[in-house]
């Protein structure tokens, strides 16, 4: 009798809001009716196996009700946390906040990639210059800007990393868009409907777990990632030199016919290694020469490295990986709770 009372108390909870709840309630109601029919037939005809099946399915139905009640409560609590003024006062939901966070990451990364491309373009234009002078077939050609070519390889590598990061964050942004539009309104009710039937219980449980993981874990992971980054930036002692907005680096114009070598090469090398004055060219480097300009450009780039590392590794790699791992872990755990022990290792390998 107490169990029946608990069941009856949970029914209005399912109708408490518009959205996925009415469909979930409808699925549970249909499933309950079918179970009652099976039990009645078993009871009427004296088939104990049918009665046993009905009882077992009733247990599954109660488990589903508990899952739905837990989901409703957890969603409310997490939304309450995520929309707390301490985190972000103007967000309407955790999913919106997650989308905002990932959108900011994407914007920051796109800017970083754009800055890298601008630097690469400017350096390549300067580095491609070569001069020639000839009279009556005699003369010479000089590639006085060859020193700039050393900057192309690290920029190319940085471009590869930044491109990967932009794609990763874009994929996550798309997943969050899908989450916001479909996770609770479509995937979850379908999962509930499928889970009510014995043959499709595995697929149904998996869909429920997928919907819940996408709805809660994915945005939560993005928000936690952002919180980590913001906490790090707020600690001025730890984050000194790490800026949220990686800038660009200017470089001197190259004269292709200028062949003067840099004076004081040893002192220049030492000054680069010692990294005195981050972000500033060393006055001791002969900035009047092509090689000196290239070295100064390299040094400025080196000083900017921490900013790019922060944007690409903390924001774009650690954040999304954390979010996706949370989602995958949630999917694995929730699918087991929802009655579908599914091996999600294939999806985990995407991370």
């Amino acid at each position: 009798m107490k169990k029946l009372m608990l069941l009856l108390l949970m029914v209005p909870l399912a109708f408490a809001a518009t959205g996925w709840e009415p469909i979930a309630a409808m699925a549970i109601f249909i499933s309950g009716t079918l179970l009652a029919a099976v039990y009645i037939v078993g009871f009427g005809l004296g088939i104990s196996e049918l009665q046993m099946i009905a009882k077992e399915e009733l247990f599954q139905l109660i488990a589903l009700l508990i899952i739905i009640a837990a989901l409703t409560g957890t969603n409310g609590i997490l939304n309450g946390i995520s929309t707390n003024a301490a985190f972000k006062s103007d967000a309407s939901s955790m999913q919106d906040l997650g989308l905002d966070v990932v959108g900011t990451w994407n914007e920051s990364l796109s800017t970083a990639l754009g800055n890298l491309a601008t630097m690469d373009k400017a350096i390549s234009i300067e580095g491609s210059a070569g001069g020639q002078c000839s009279i009556l077939g005699m003369g010479y050609s000089v590639s006085g800007c060859g020193g700039y070519s050393m900057l192309a390889t690290p920029l190319s590598m940085a471009g590869g990393i930044a491109g990967f990061a932009v794609a990763e964050v874009s994929a996550m942004e798309r997943l969050l868009e899908i989450t916001k539009k479909y996770a609770l309104s479509f995937i979850l009710p379908l999962g509930i409907i499928l889970r009510t039937f014995k043959m499709t219980r595995g697929a149904g449980g998996f869909l429920i777990a997928l919907a819940v993981s996408m709805h809660i874990m994915l945005p939560a992971g993005a928000i936690f990632g952002e919180m980590l980054a913001v906490t790090f930036l707020d600690d001025s002692a730890a984050s000194a030199g790490y800026e949220d907005d990686p800038g660009t680096v200017s470089m001197g114009t190259c004269n292709p016919l200028e062949t003067e070598s840099v004076s004081g090469f040893k002192s220049m090398t030492n000054s680069i290694l010692e990294a005195d004055g981050p972000g500033l060219p060393d006055a001791s480097i002969g900035s009047g020469t092509n090689d000196g300009k290239a070295m100064n450009a390299y040094k400025k780039m080196r000083a900017k490295l921490k900013d790019y590392l922060f944007t690409m590794l903390i924001r774009a790699t650690l954040g999304p990986v954390l979010a996706l791992l949370l989602m995958m872990s949630g999917l694995r755990a929730l699918s087991a709770i929802a009655g579908a022990d599914v091996d999600v290792s294939a999806i985990s390998r995407f991370v």
């Binding site: 491609s128 471009g159 590869g160 491109g163 794609a167 994929a171």
Partner: protein, 343 residues
Amino acid sequence: MAAELICGPKFGSFLTTTIIPITAYATMATCMVIAASYMLGRMLSNPKLTLWSKTEIVQLFVSLASTLLIIMVVGSFCNVNMSEVAQIFGASGSGNIYDAAKGYLSDAALHAHHAITVVRYQLQGYTVLSYFNALKCEIPMGDSTGLGCFFGQGSTTMQPLGGYGTVMAALNFALNSSLMSFFTAMNFAFILMFVYRGFAFMFLPLGIFMRSMPYMRPFGSLMIAVSFSFLIVYPLMLAIFGLMSDVILKEPVDMSKYHEKAYPDHEGAEELATSMAGEAYVHDMYFGDGQDNYVGALNFAATAFIGGVFFPTVAMIAAIASVAYVARLYGDEIDLSRLTQLV
């Protein structure tokens, strides 16, 4: 369309003239084996044989009922109108479940192909631009000539449009990813087509027969479970994702600006002369209409991965999980989860 394969009259004919008769033969053959075993048991007064026969006749009915259930559900799926289902959830869809499943994978493959087109176009454009060389004469007279070139040669060579190593490294990754997404979507589509051609139905009579043979019950259960999962769960999951394709396969850039020509346009003498006169012409030839959008290309590659790899893999995982659950209904433990490692 899929209706021609699995829901059309040809398939109905295949079902009635091939699958159902073979199923009937398999059932009869199994009945005969069971009957012979029962008679032998009675003749030899061996209770093990008679008990086995009684058990197997029940299992035979279970197998037959499962087969009929699968065929009924397939018939129902052929009649489900996905546009009506979509209206319930505020989504959009068309055709039956099998059409929707095939439609989703076709659209995902097309989406990945569009991503390849956008990325390739930009890679080509940037390659051409980075190899564009200009000769700047000393003592310039206008944009493209100077006194330095008249008396001997005093000039500077350069690549005025610069290098695109950074962007090209990013786009190369995007191209690889888009290609992988395209091939994966096509791979899943071929698996679906294989199912639609009826291979899974052949497992049903085999499953009925094998389930009642000594030591072969797990294999028979596997056959029926695989049929159920690939005929029902796999297309159903894909059809569900198909209803969400408005968001999953939304194109982040305007595809009409990009094409697959090796050269942007026909090059006449006048165009060539103009291109020699200035780098702006070459730049505009490729990127004059705002096609210079490498961030958009990277976004496209990412969404192609989500649509062509992530969601079809989820559908496959659900189908494989379903095999284990259906097999469990028959009292067997079958774990095909390692198959997902092939993905």
